[in-house]
């Protein structure tokens, strides 16, 4: 069943016809490397996101929200686990190498996990705004996604992220309809998280980005970013919040246009130079070290059962 392609054009024709690449296939090295890097980035982001949510479990107000944050943490860590399995199987790096690189600050993850969540309202801004941005970008990958094992995982991830978004909307509604203090708290969080959420989609896509041609990405970054802005500007304004962009305006067709985006903060996070990058990475590395005994106990119990 192992498929081979005579050259890059032959492979591209296969992708263009909607072909799905499977692990056993003799895929071009460039495809393997790029898809691996993309999945590794996604896995790292799920892990870093899950650890952020974990930090807030004890601080969540009330049992029901603690339950929700516990479940979300389990979701994200579970997604990371699945993604690392598929990435490691591609034979570029082992799972341990990926984790070592992450904890040493040598690999990348989503910009939004390089910032500090200051108050509970930040956590709601993350659940409402950032999860929605991540959901939109993952859904766009799922829409085509030429790598079979990745597409199968994305099906479940997208379903679960949709569920997180409903939680985010519910929590936001409570702040929007709450006291003046709650309203102000969310506005301040929105001031901190609006631009990182918009920047999550990245700068305009390079037309030559091979991930577009190989149908890993189904949409250009700027298309996804614009759809997000058109949806969330009126929603947030409708709840009585102010978008932290003095240059925000509507064009003749009523479409929202933001001020020119400063991409420096995004670039800084890609060099681990974001406002909270260091603490986040150290926190993740410490967490991995602190939980070594759990993995050890599981390994011993599996060995004893065998």
């Amino acid at each position: 069943m192992r498929r081979t392609w005579s050259d890059a054009a032959d492979f591209q024709a296969f992708i263009d016809e909607g072909g799905m690449v499977e692990p056993e296939d003799d895929m071009p090295a460039a495809y393997r490397d790029e898809v691996f890097r993309f999945i590794e980035f996604h896995a790292n982001s799920e892990l870093m996101g899950g650890l952020t949510e974990r930090d807030w479990i004890p601080h969540s107000p009330g049992l029901r929200l603690k339950q929700i944050f516990l479940a979300k943490t389990q979701d994200e860590i579970g997604h990371a686990h699945l993604l690392y399995m598929v990435a490691a199987d591609m034979g570029v790096k082992s799972r341990q190498e990926m984790l070592d690189d992450l904890f040493a600050g040598r690999s990348r993850f989503h910009n939004v996990f390089h910032y500090q969540a200051v108050t509970w309202a930040d956590q709601i801004a993350i659940a409402y705004l950032v999860d929605a941005a991540a959901f939109a970008s993952q859904r766009a990958v799922f829409a085509e996604c030429s790598y079979g094992p990745y597409k199968r995982i994305l099906k479940r991830i997208v379903a679960e992220e949709g569920f997180h978004m409903r939680h985010g909307e519910e929590m936001l509604l409570r702040m929007a309809e709450g006291t003046e203090v709650q309203h102000t708290m969310f506005q301040e969080a929105l001031d901190r998280w609006w631009w990182p959420a918009v920047q999550l989609f990245g700068p305009d896509s390079d037309p030559a980005d091979p991930l577009l041609a190989w149908k890993i990405k189904s949409q250009r970054n700027e298309v996804l970013r614009d759809a997000y802005i058109q949806k969330y500007v009126p929603l947030l304004q409708g709840y009585g919040f102010r978008i932290p962009d003095d240059g925000l305006r509507q064009d003749a067709d009523g479409r929202w246009v933001t001020s020119p985006i400063d991409w420096e903060p995004l670039k800084a996070t890609m060099r681990q130079g974001g406002p909270d990058s260091r603490r986040r990475i150290e926190n993740a590395a410490r967490n991995w070290a602190d939980t070594a005994w759990v993995r050890d106990a599981l390994d011993r119990s599996a060995a004893a059962a065998a």
Binding site: E22, P23, E24, R64, Q67, I68, L70, A71, K72, Q74, D75, E76, I77, G78, H79, H81, L82, M85, V86, D89, G148, P149, R152, I153, K155, R156, A159, E160, G162, F163, R166, H167, L298
Partner: protein, 161 residues
């Protein structure tokens, strides 16, 4: 599962309520109904009030409040129903045996999620391989664990009982 009963003669409404319940999907599986998942245990209708008894797949499931409000909205939209009361029952305990064949098919075909066979064995929903290995007792949700199919090299998730 005890047969849903109605104490008064409004079979039409009970059927309509049951149909409405069948349209409520699990929030984590957008195309799987809670009825197919086996969450519906009791249903009665009396004096304009529909009483729905559900059982959770797992205690601590974060979707319960959402399912409850989705159920209430769907049932209260049925003509003749004034109010819907939802109760989460403590017994019987949910097991994968309560899932319908349709639910099992959707999980396997669309979500790469399988149930353990009667002998405890696992069959890969992607390639049919029977060498699926358990990898982690904890998956992304309370109700699933993680396995791996070495034949087609795909992760497989397993519904926990």
């Amino acid at each position: 599962m005890t047969a849903p009963t109605t104490p008064v003669a409004s079979p039409g409404i009970v059927d309509a309520v049951r149909a409405a319940l069948g349209s409520v999907d699990d929030p984590e599986y957008p195309d799987l109904s809670i009825v197919d998942l086996g969450l519906l245990e009791t249903l009665t209708f009396d004096g304009g009030v529909a009483r729905v008894g559900l059982i959770p797949t797992f205690g601590g499931c974060p979707a319960l409040a959402m399912i409850e409000s989705d159920v209430r909205a769907a049932v209260e939209a049925v003509e003749g129903v004034e109010r819907c009361e939802v109760t989460w029952l403590r017994s019987p305990v949910w097991t994968t045996d309560r899932m319908t064949a349709a639910a099992r098919r959707t999980l396997a075909d669309d979500y790469t999620v399988v149930l353990r066979g009667p002998d405890g064995g696992l069959r890969c929903p992607v390639c049919g391989g029977d060498e699926v290995e358990d990898r982690s007792i904890a998956g992304p949700t309370r109700c699933r664990s993680i396995a791996w199919c070495p034949t087609c090299r795909n992760p497989v998730e397993v519904m926990r009982t």
